[in-house]
Symmetry: D2
Subunit: 357 residues, 4 copies
């Protein structure tokens, strides 16, 4: 099994939370693309911890160093390799985990799969820190997509069950996507933001955590990307999104809600808009028969609550095969949803670019 | 783009609804597996139309002919090719679709992607009929999985918003999975079945259709299948499931519901059961860090209502680029959910077998 | 392991020599390509046995039946499936082979690999008959390449050590390639043909067989196909060619001969011809740094003598693990080189088309 | 196009000759393998320049830094990333190449393919320096193969047409492979070495270069690795070998020579040796039907003479599209064959390990 994604443009992610460095290699990029470093760093900063009360206090620069594939700021067509050195690591925090696996973490299956040889310091290769190279790759992908008139952006749809329903699945524009996804807390309805923040703070006070749903859109896509049966846009995007830790569900358009509708409600009637085919509603999320169609691509990812909570939990001791109790120490986000927004965008952008090439 | 799935065991599906034949090629099967033809035919019959009031009246035998890869009923290790000849086709029904695409169907993006050269008779390669080879491949996969002590089965979780919540995500057994998935209408709570059937019949009377949710489980899996970041069990299973027409969402365990829980509720505590590691609840659906863990794999697929409805709909004329109205003729299921149960099982079984090899 | 080739256009070959049918599935073909059936049948006939004294007397029609992916003679963009039914089979000839493997045949490793479950009748999936679907796929590929101005053709470079050195690696034209590859015995220098034929006939009289070398060229390719390090044109073409039974060596341009030259002799000087970059000689066979350059692609494949000879041979009995003697009965070509010419062309054409897409 | 190889164990190579660093990522390694750093460094040193009169005087440490995938000297099962920093680079030497491409180098097709955006300093991603990560990956692969009783080794078969024919294709042992491949100049017959060295020195004195052939063997392989039709051992090994710059031909066993034999000479008779199936000769190079059999794997690669020679050469000016003369400055090996031996071994070892997993 491997940490690789993509067919035409491939992304290979490597590194462990407390190892020398994390990074990625991207193969298949076109030559001649001028990369805007500020835009890359902006995306990296969106994901970086420590900026906000909802996030872990671990501070890192997370500045990507490009080792190859870029000359004078322009892609050469050769593989682009990037590393981020690990600096601020406290390995002492995780010593007990090999014996008593954390519930809802990878600890137990990783222990079995890798016979105890996997690096557990800070989660090792399973750490959420490994989403930093994904964000980097997504930032590169977004710049190439932008040159083709395609914009990818996401917002917080819900946190702790508090919903922001103000997203317009049919008529969302590139400008609106850029605006919302650039916010430190990417939400459309500012009134809802305070309630969400309070829910996160309440969870932190209770030594607990909360999850949420992120909604992502892509506008400007050509009609006919993807194909049916095993080459669907949905399958390709979903396989990238399930590579983001904590994602437990992926849906398109009306998603699970469409199952409760009648065909006459669910079907998206076509219309003519500015001389082009368009839809009157977007329950199919811009994908039909596995292919992009005339509407924005709409995809939602369910993010489970951070499994690392300070509350004591029930687990087992794998050495003694007896039940045990566990208190997780260390620094953890009570809610990773805001920081996950750029990760979801990145995964979607990279998957779409791969389909475009 | 291609109709191929899998890395170690690959499935290549071909054919058009009204062409000579549909079929598939499976590469990478182990040699020496005795295939039970009755079991394969039983699965094919579960998906076949015309058995039930909820289904289309088109009658077909759908008997698979194995062309290669099997000698005296035992796999040879060479590619297994199978065809199903198309016999009962009425091509006249679909003549108008090239100009006026059916809403929520592949017609429009296929027209753009294939420049009008795609076979539209009966949906062509986009027809739900192409799920027959998937069921065949799943039936083969299930027999190999069974030899490894693994059972895959599914049931109808909801139709038209009517839910059957009697599924036990933690303690479901192989016996129960086999029992339910063998029913003509695969439902656990028989009381709910009548309400579902009525909803389907009501929709038919209204020239409309309904959707639903199918819940699938796999028990007996080893711990540690899959891996994190782009090799996740979730991503692999989802990419197979989105290859099934009409699937608009895929979720694992508590799925989208987990986003509303707190970590202390969502986390699945470990316990010891019969000397082995087990879980007290299964919100993660048997997958952690992208790997199978000590609980049953639980995955749900949202099935949209059949887009082909007899009600008049709004569309556009692609030749004149003007708005148009459309009445779909022909024979169509008011609800494909019951027939989709074996297809979902097959896609899950094949994806899991691929991860096992 | 699988009988699949290609990344963008994929070819999946199936079938056994004495099974129901052999065939292939091609994924990723562009829609809208009018296929000339006569041209396909012409290529099939070139490979078919029984036309010439050098070939096996087994007579077959080998007429391909297209099951999907083509409508009214034009590709639809959906997978193209093709079968050739097996009719003239004499299974009785091969009964002893499971115990006493034929030298230089796949019998022994196949027996070990497939635990004796592989179909040995007529060689099963290892039969040279499986090159028929490759020729079919190559015939399709050649038509698409022709629309892009690319021509692939091959000739017999040597048989039994008798060489035809009249090939012009720098200035070969599409017309010459088409002419030579259309001959029943594809040779440039007709004087050499008689000596080759005599060598084949002598071998037949001696119950023996002979091999040879096939030289293949492609003209009209764009500059820059392929890439260096693991995406080379050479590696891709070679991996297709080694899929053709009996190929034991693949070389480009001057090939193994280049190893004996000095750099000043081996290097191909550039010149300007008709306003374009060209080469004064073609020792690199049209590939530099893994990429196509300004000269024709030149590749050669070494074909070993048919391993099935009527002479008695030394082998072992796998049941008794003792040494044994073997006399192969049945009908076999004393030289497969002439019939292998269209197979080599097909493999090269398909590999190049895959790189083009 | 990408610099990636492998299906089960994948190798992704990155970097440019004069960039920040070169390196690789290996995915799919088993967890729990203790890596011997000395053995890795020994292999790196074999390839490193400057040790011998036949090699370029550029001195580099080429010490690999492992960034991930190894903890306390043992593989974790996570991706293994490695970098080698570039230190000793003289970029001024190559300024003219964008306009006047070096004959037999990648310059011209790379210029066309990458629109002039590729990094040409020192050959960029096309530099022979990129073989260092391949040697690293091979060194890792060899250690894992050794644990399975498999040894890969190579020797210089010829340089400048001077041949060492003392290799025993049937009975070569692991000990002999290790001995020869550990020599600074990997040759079996020491008498031939002096003549080869003189030929290289003569070429250097003439501002010219020479090529050669490297012969590689693997012993201890299980029977049945690989498969026929597009999954052949030959095709897989060849696609790795053609990824090594300067390789223009690949052959197995008797290779091109087998084409001149009769079947009765070419066929390798089976015998019983120490109770196991073995062969009396090895013209098939240990591969039949695409699968490993009872004999050592024997593969040969033709290495063209170093294209960078000090002699003046004919080329063209791509800006003015006129003919031009070129004198290459800088430091270049008059013969890369001795340094290429560990690279060929590495490519073969990695390809075989991939087939084993």
């Amino acid at each position: 099994m491997s940490s690789e994604f993509g067919k035409n443009i491939t992304l290979s992610v490597f590194g462990e939370s407390h190892g020398e460095a994390i990074g990625c290699v991207i193969n298949g990029l076109p030559a001649g693309v001028a990369l805007d470093t500020d835009k890359i760093n902006f995306e990296m900063a969106r994901r970086a911890p420590g900026k906000d009360k909802t996030a872990t206090p671990r501070l890192e620069k997370d500045l990507p160093e490009i080792l190859s594939g870029v000359l004078n700021g322009v892609t050469t067509g050769a593989p682009l390799a990037m590393i981020i050195k690990n600096t601020n690591t406290k390995s002492g925090d995780y010593s007990n985990l090999m014996q008593v696996p954390r519930p809802s973490h990878s600890d137990y299956p990783a222990y079995v799969k890798y016979n105890g040889f996997n690096d557990i310091r800070g989660g090792g290769h399973f750490s959420g820190r490994l989403t930093a190279p994904i964000v980097f790759a997504g930032a590169v992908a977004k710049q190439i997509l932008a040159q083709k008139g395609i914009t990818v952006g996401a917002h917080i749809k819900s946190i702790a069950g508090i919903c922001d329903d103000s997203f317009d699945m049919e008529n969302v524009t590139a400008q609106e996507l850029i605006r919302v996804s650039s916010l430190p807390f990417s939400i459309i309805n500012k009134d809802v933001e305070e309630r969400m923040r309070k829910a996160v703070e309440d969870a932190r006070m209770d030594c607990d955590s909360v999850g949420g749903v992120i909604e992502c859109a892509a506008v400007g896509l050509p009609v006919g990307l993807g194909a049916n049966i095993f080459s669907t846009v949905e399958g390709h995007v979903a396989s990238a999104l399930f590579g983001v830790p904590a994602v437990k569900g992926v849906e398109f358009g009306a998603g699970f809600g469409i199952a409760d509708l009648r065909g006459s409600q669910a079907n998206d009637p076509y219309c003519i808009k500015d001389g082009s085919v368009f839809v009157k509603q977007n329950n199919n999320g811009g994908v039909l028969g596995g292919m992009t169609t005339a509407a924005p691509l709409i995809v939602r990812a369910a993010i489970k609550p951070t499994p690392s909570i300070a509350k004591e939990q029930e687990s087992v001791n794998l050495q003694t095969m007896s039940e045990a109790r566990l208190k997780i120490k260390g620094r953890h986000d009570p809610c990773i949803v805001p920081r996950a927004v750029p990760v979801i965008e990145a995964a979607v952008a990279f998957a779409l670019l791969d389909l475009m090439m």
